[in-house]
């Protein structure tokens, strides 16, 4: 009743595109040897919308809303990257207050992304309750961001030269209230998940990413930092207002799932620190640069701009030929490189570990498919 696979003793198990734990429309063909995986082959592209092609046929401003749709979980970082790349092409300097607002909203967005990962990942491991705890916390941030950006998920908030609307007192108070509330929740998360023996058994020593492999595959973000390499664009290639704040880059030791988990949790705390400092230091002044041309027509040339998103390094490569539309736009997305490592990671592991691994690398499928 099971049709034979490539070899007689194996068979093919089709994980997805509709499967409870593929987080988006991802399909993985697993060649199984019993409960063990002989070969994993991810099939992507179900959500391919052709963003890069769209970019060539829209002007610079028209392409801005697309960025919120590439990675819907950390949309503001993508917004920021596009704005910064175009600003670089045009030679615009963003006023300080606008940079601060960008950092604050961006970091809040990063926390929502990590929280969603946290909840969804625990659900992959069969624990349902943390998911709702996380969504409870996440909801507070979404309300805050809703207030200033006008949307809750696919943000399109930053503009070339700054931000279109200022933050108000209520937003600032809301942020401080959230920071207090969220810090008081760490204990709950620790007791419920981090110290849980079943969780530790399932994640320690499983799904190891070695620094060598990360180098060869170009894995970035928390997946890389879990392996002990402190590579974070916010520090290594400082942009926006990040150099003005004190924060650390949490790293792991073994590069296993547990380390990645710890890194992401610690990163949320660092994001809180950044938001806190930015709110305290928030300077007065304009939120929009003065000399932003109405008609954006950057000079010919090319530019590469990278930012640190919740999943790693996101880079935009623009080739301009002095037209109103970009000549070529390449989106370097972090999940693409990470997922291409998955077959190696899953090989000779249990199918249960494959699910645990797939969840732990935190891929966002629309981002990979573009």
């Amino acid at each position: 009743m099971l049709e034979p696979g490539i070899e007689e003793k194996t068979f093919v198990l089709n994980l997805g595109p509709q499967h409870p734990s593929t987080h988006g429309v991802l399909r993985i063909l697993l060649e199984m040897d019993g409960e063990y995986i002989a070969k994993a082959d991810p099939v992507i592209g179900y959500g391919h919308r052709g963003h890069e092609h769209m970019a060539e046929n829209r002007n610079y401003l028209q392409f801005l809303p697309n960025m919120g749709r590439v990675d819907y979980l950390h949309a503001l970082a993508y917004n920021q990257c596009w704005c910064m790349a175009v600003e670089k092409l045009l030679g615009i300097t963003v006023p300080e207050r606008a940079e601060f607002i960008r950092v604050i909203t961006n970091e809040l967005n990063r926390i929502t992304s990590h929280l969603l990962w946290f909840g969804a990942y625990l659900m992959d491991l069969g624990a349902f309750t943390p998911f709702l705890y996380c969504f409870d916390d996440r909801e507070h941030i979404l309300d805050l961001l809703d207030r200033v950006t006008g949307s809750r998920l696919t943000y399109c908030y930053y503009r070339f030269g700054g931000v279109p609307s200022d933050i108000d007192r209520e937003f600032i108070d809301g942020c401080f209230a959230f920071i207090d509330r969220f810090r008081s929740r760490w204990k709950d998360y620790d007791n419920l998940v981090t110290k849980n023996v079943i969780f530790i058994n399932r994640t320690k020593g499983v799904g190891i990413i070695t620094p060598e492999m990360a180098l060869k595959y170009g894995i970035t973000g928390p997946n890389l930092r879990g392996s002990g390499i402190p590579y974070d664009i916010r520090k290594s290639e400082p942009y926006s207002a990040y150099p003005l704040f004190n924060f650390e880059i949490p790293i792991g030791e073994n590069g296993d799932i547990f380390d990645r988990y710890v890194v992401r949790l610690a990163e949320m705390e660092q994001s809180l620190r950044i938001v806190e400092q930015a709110l305290v230091k928030l300077p007065n002044g304009p939120i929009m640069a003065e000399k932003v041309p109405k008609r954006i027509k950057p000079p010919a040339g090319e530019v590469y701009q990278a930012v640190e998103t919740a999943r790693g390094e996101f880079g935009i490569y623009i080739v301009s030929q002095g037209e109103v539309k970009p000549y070529r736009v390449k989106l370097r997305v972090p999940s693409f490189a990470t997922l291409s490592f998955f077959p190696e990671m899953a090989k000779d592991n249990l199918v249960a570990d494959a699910v645990a691994n797939l969840g732990s690398i935190d891929v966002v499928i629309p981002e990979i498919d573009r």
Binding site: E56, N59, K216, Y217, E302, V303, Y304, Y317, F336, A337
Partner: protein, 151 residues
């Protein structure tokens, strides 16, 4: 300085151009131009200096040629190297997937979107588009459809 190390490592390869870039304007510390045939040796040299392949893509620059664009960066020190390789249409550049396994998918993507075949690639199939697609959307001749108004 890593820039110097990389320049030194690339020196024996006889590349067309190895020059410091204007970081504030382009985001590059080092700009390199190479012939497609030199790419594997170049990639090996970059790997030896501890750089990772940040991105790999192509640009359809003219009806006669593509430009392959490789970005390399480093985990330890800020140094972004861009490699441009002009590729006449119809020719096959060598694959880097044996040196950087991560290049496997990038090359498949470039094949998918531009139709560039990488010689020696283990599994050069469509990755984002359906397997039965008969076009390569990022070629300029593919056209725009009716999306976007330009201005």
């Amino acid at each position: 300085m890593l820039t110097d190390t990389i320049q030194k490592a690339l020196a024996p390869l006889n590349l067309a151009k190895v020059a410091p870039g204007d970081y504030a304007k382009t985001g590059y510390h080092l700009e390199v131009a190479a012939a497609p045939a030199q790419l594997p040796a170049l990639a090996q040299a970059m790997l030896n200096t501890g750089c990772f392949l940040e991105s790999l893509t192509a640009v359809d620059v003219s009806p006669e040629a593509f430009t392959l664009v490789y970005h390399f960066a480093n985990f330890k020190e800020l140094c972004r190297t861009v490699v441009h390789a002009s590729l006449p249409k119809g020719t096959e550049p060598p694959t880097l997937s044996q040196i950087y396994p991560g290049a496997d998918w990038y090359e498949r993507e470039v094949y998918d979107l531009f139709g560039i075949r990488f010689a020696g690639h283990p599994n050069l199939t469509r990755i984002l588009l359906p397997e039965d697609a008969d076009f390569h959307p990022l070629l300029k001749e593919f056209g725009a459809g009716d999306a976007g108004t330009g201005d």
